[in-house]
Structures are given as structure tokens and as C-alpha cells.
Homo-oligomer: 195 residues x 2
DNA sequence: TGTCAACTTGACACGATGTCAAGTTATCCA
DNA sequence: TGGATAACTTGACATCGTGTCAAGTTGACA
């Protein structure tokens, strides 16, 4: 250990991240091993399965890209609208960073419980962020009448899905900026009173 | 042939449809064969691959559920808004019918070109419907200023995605009615002038 | 009677994941 | 100095699902 500047484990995570983000391939365990410069079996000495490796990679990205700091800003917003905007910027702006891993995680066979759970956890965390923004809006009395907090959360969470980002940014060629601006506009139209 | 009331091919398609719609499983070729009551190999006498079987199943559902008739109504709408609503009803109401197959098609390995193409075709067809509704809105002068027809189409197409339906109806427990109502409301808020 | 289509059984190749066993190499430490 | 240990290597193998191949059966129809 100690020696090679950075540990093999970290190198594996970085390489996996790169391969997934570069997009084109299916990224098999053997591809990752080759890119790291170790044997396929050595991969299994560090990560028990492909699913666990993918999960560890998302955690690695979270720490490198400091997802906590990004979210902290939205938590400290004063008004409901500010919180909504900050959260959209935080999560919407984070999607491109984890998009490669997210695709791989969702492409795992349904039978893979680890992978499914990891993705569900992610989505649940995002949902909590949505719910907090909705609560802040409600507290300000800006939530559209006839909309429960749960419904509003469902909606915001749906609008902010990775798949919607894929459709607009990746498939339709929208810039990240116009994506974020449009989601804000849509969220306001969907959730807030005009007042 | 002729004899067994309905042809084996049709029975295969019906069974595949049922299995996919019932949701729980991975639905392997052997599962389908067993459910039809023939050998796994006989399946390959009728359909060259799993991908082709899935594609044929969507076409089968289209014909049984008469997708053309559903879409015809939206094409004959007089105003842009009417067309928008009719299209949302048509496609949004069709999603539950093909949801099982859609999941299976998207779950196919990326390497499978047939499956990917079939799904892309579907999405392209939906996009055309969206574009037509947007054109009708623009003709009525009801398209929001600062929004190109392409952007409006991108947005409507995104809102009407199968994944958004999954999130609201399947994951969040919305009724089909409230789903359709909400998509209408959102589409109007996103695309139309207040006038 | 013979032919043909629809099917059956059984074996096998392939690609990817994951496992197992046995060997190598470098480092650290007593 | 010599021996344990961690981090790796090579190579073989099991498993699962798809798809292929070959040879046999069955029933209808001409």
C-alpha cells in the first residue's frame, strides 16, 4: 500500500469513473481492469462485484465533487423560492457529473439488488431535497392551492429526474443553463401561486 | 396451421404481452415458452431473437388496442389546445398499455441494435405527435413568446415520457386521471401564453 | 404412401460475471 | 537473514441466458 502515490482502490474508482463518463461502451469488468493495468481478478480483491464497484464509484464522485457543499447552499436559503432555485441548481447541476454512473447503475440486470438499492437510495435522497423545498414554499404560503405537499413533491421530483435531463440536454441538445432555467420556470408554474 | 383456433404465433404474442405486463419477472425466453406450452426452441422458429419478439409484441398491442384510432382523434381536433389535450389523452392513456413491453425493450443490453431502434422509433413517433400539437398551438398564436417550436416540442416530449408516467403513476401512486390532468396543466403552463 | 410443416429433444458455443487454487513479488519486521 | 504477509498474477472453471445446430416425431393433406 502506501507507496504508489495513490492507492490501487482509488485508481480503480477514477478509471471506472472515466470509462463510464466517456460513454460509448458497455464497460465490462475486464475493460476496467485493462485500463487500470491490473488483472480482472485483482478487481475482485477490491470490490466484491460490479454492482459494488459502481456504487463505490458514485460515492467517490460525491466526495470528489463535494456534493455536500453543493447541497448546503440550498439548505441555507431564506425564502421558499430561493430554496427551490438553489436545489434545482444543486441537483440539476450535479446530474451531468454522475450521469455515466447513473446509466450503468440503471442498466444493471433487475435481479441485482445492490444496484437497484443504490439507485433507489439516490432517488430517495433527491426526493427529500424536493420535499424540503416544497415545505419551504408552503411555509411562505406560495404553494399552489389544491396541491398537497406530497403531490408537489412528486411533481418536483419527477421534473428533476435524470431521464428528463437526458432528454433535454443529451437528446435534444439543450445547454445546461437553459435546462436549469427551464426546470425552474416549469417548477414555479407547476407548484407556485402566481401571487 | 389453420387448426388450433388461433395461431401459435398469436398465442406467443399474447402470452409475452401478459407476462411482461404482469411485471414481476425478468421474462426469459424459456419463461415464455413454458407459458405458451411449447419448447424454447419452437419460439425461435417464429421469432429470430428476443428483441424481434418484443418488437412484434408492441406491434401486436398496437393493433389490438387500435393505436391508430386513438391518435386519429387528436389529429382531427380543431384548435391547438384541443389538439394538445387530445394528444395527451391519446398517448398518455396509451402508456399503461405498453408499459410492460417498454420496460423490457429498454432493459435490453445496449449492444442490441434491434431493440434500441424499436424504442427510438416509438419515441420518434411520439415526438412527431408533440410537434404537430405545437404547430397547431403556434398557428393559433398561443405559443409562449421566446419559445421556438423545437423547444416547445422538446418540452412536451419530455413531459410525456414513459419515465415520467412511471414516476407519477407507478412510483408515486397517482391515478391515471390525475396524471393526465397534471400533464395537461403542466404542458399549458410550459408552452402557452396566458391569454 | 409419402411429403411437408410444426414441433420436440438434446447438445453446444458464446459472452459476461463471479469463484477457486496455486504461484510470484516486494516489503516489513523480528 | 529469513519468514510472514499483502497485493498481485495466471489459469481453470461454474453459472446463466441467448442463440444455433442436428436429428427425430407427429399429424394432416394429396
Amino acid at each position: 500500500m502506501s507507496s504508489d502515490q495513490i492507492s490501487t482502490k482509488t485508481r480503480i474508482l477514477d478509471v471506472t469513473w472515466n470509462l463510464l463518463e466517456s460513454g460509448d461502451k458497455s464497460v465490462r469488468m475486464s475493460d476496467i481492469a485493462k485500463a487500470v493495468g491490473i488483472s480482472r481478478q485483482a478487481l475482485y480483491l477490491h470490490f466484491p462485484s460490479r454492482a459494488e464497484l459502481l456504487v463505490a464509484t458514485t460515492r467517490h464522485i460525491d466526495s470528489v465533487k463535494d456534493v455536500d457543499a453543493r447541497l448546503a447552499r440550498s439548505r441555507s436559503a431564506q425564502t421558499g423560492v430561493a430554496r427551490l432555485h438553489a436545489f434545482i441548481d444543486a441537483w440539476g447541476g450535479y446530474i451531468p457529473e454522475i450521469h455515466g454512473v447513473s446509466v450503468a447503475l440503471r442498466a444493471m440486470p433487475d435481479s441485482d439488488q445492490d444496484a437497484a438499492d443504490a439507485w433507489t437510495d439516490r432517488m430517495t435522497a433527491v426526493r427529500h431535497g424536493c420535499a424540503a423545498a416544497v415545505v419551504a414554499l408552503a411555509r411562505d404560503g406560495r404553494l399552489k392551492e389544491g396541491l398537497t405537499e406530497t403531490q408537489a413533491t412528486d411533481l418536483l421530483w419527477t421534473l428533476l429526474s435524470v431521464e428528463n435531463w437526458e432528454r433535454l440536454v443529451r437528446d435534444s441538445g439543450w445547454s445546461q443553463n437553459s435546462y436549469q432555467a427551464m426546470i425552474k420556470q416549469l417548477s414555479e408554474a407547476a407548484l407556485m401561486t402566481d401571487g
